[in-house]
């Protein structure tokens, strides 16, 4: 309540007291009607004071309501931040998903190629097995695939490594890959050649580099599993 309102309220109370004193005097002097008139005035003063007090309360409440109410900035900043955060999360999730799928795609391509290579090498095996191979033959890198991810294949290669003759020059440290031979002339595993040759290696240079087939152990089950897995992934 302002000082002015407070002063007016107190003035009304004083006036009410004054009218009450006058009414009291009139009632004492047996002038009832005049006493009633003064009492009426006292009541009106009290009512004025009461209304003034109530009005200031209402004003106070209104003022409080206005201060309590957040401004439009305060009202919208939280939802806006929430929407932004949600958008960022969705974006991140989509990016992660995309990244995952692209990784899987590249993996599966690699796997598919490996499987193809493995299948190729597998198809070489029976052909070569029938050939008498010199112990000094060297296994070309491209002819035998060594995928790291395919354990069974690696195991097979390991077996081959153990059993290969001492002269074999397989570079074990090299990453097993889908690499094509550096020198095309060294590519000695043309399956067609073996097939055409009726199971015989015609070229002496090629035959000289081929490892004895009996030293290879192929895990067919593992290969099938890998192939079906990559097919399931749709790659």
């Amino acid at each position: 309540m302002s000082d002015m309102d407070s002063g007016r309220l107190l003035a009304h109370i004083d006036e009410a007291k004054n009218w009450l004193d006058k009414a009291k005097e009139e009632y004492k002097g047996s002038n009832r009607i005049r006493g009633d008139l003064h009492l009426n005035l006292a009541q009106a003063e009290v009512k004025c004071a009461w209304e003034l007090s109530r009005r200031s309360d209402v004003t106070k409440i209104d003022a409080l309501r206005q201060t309590d109410q957040p401004s439009w900035r305060q009202r919208y900043i939280l939802p806006a931040a929430a929407v932004l955060l949600a958008g960022m999360m969705v974006g991140a999730a989509l990016y992660w998903q995309w990244k995952q799928s692209s990784e899987m795609q590249s993996d599966s391509i690699a796997m598919e190629t490996e499987v193809t290579e493995t299948v190729k090498s597998e198809s070489v095996v029976p052909t070569v097995q029938s050939q008498p191979v010199a112990s000094s033959q060297v296994i070309p890198e491209a002819a035998v695939s060594h995928p790291v991810s395919v354990k069974s294949e690696t195991a097979a290669v390991k077996t081959a490594k153990v059993e290969k003759p001492a002269e074999s020059k397989v570079d074990e440290k090299r990453e097993p890959s889908i690499e094509t031979p550096r020198n095309p002339s060294e590519n000695i595993v043309p399956v067609a050649t073996h097939a055409i040759g009726g199971g015989r290696v015609e070229s002496s240079s090629v035959a000289g580099k081929i490892q004895p087939v009996s030293s290879f152990v192929i895990d067919e089950e593992a290969l099938t599993r890998e192939a079906s897995k990559s097919l399931r992934l749709g790659k």
């Binding site: 007016r8 008139l37 009426n40 004025c48």
Partner: protein
Amino acid sequence: MIQQYLAELSKIHLLAPQEETDLWHQYKVEGSREARQKIIESYQPLVFKIASQITPLEDLIFDLIQEGTVGLIEAVEHFDVTKAVKFSTYASHRIRGRMIDYLRRHRSNQEYLELAIHQEEIQDILGFIADHSVNVEEEVTYKIIHQQVRLAISRLNPKEQKVICDLYLLDKEPAVSAQEMAISLSYYYKLQKKALQRLRGMLSKLRAEMKASG
């Protein structure tokens, strides 16, 4: 009971124009509480008069008097002596306004609310022709309005004419006027309401012109 109050109110000393001016000066400029009390006391009959014009019901009259007295106190506090408005005119609006608010809050008194609203709407015109202290500058306006109001009143039936003249031009008490006409007080208020309604319609153009001219 009302008659006793009216008898007591008639004993109240009415202020002479110069005395009133002095009292306003003492109250508004010097802040005299006694001057304030004298002004309020001397205008108490106005509250009774307005309340008795609205209803004949005794209980309701006392409620209206209570509300009207609050209006009178507010009018005394807010009245601006520098403006060329008579205090009685200003106070009448505030007193009747409080009474109308009271009647609005108490829906059972709808009939009296309508009457009070009619009175409030044509109060300016009726008050203007009842006011004999018109100065020379206002003489022309006064004559025009007086003519139109007289013409409108002449179109009312004789009973309605008497009610309006007694209440607003001669300041008679409703009970006294009803007694003179040998009719019941309730019938008197019905006549008053009907007459005010018709006057309101007839003077609507004049009221609009008065409002426009300020």
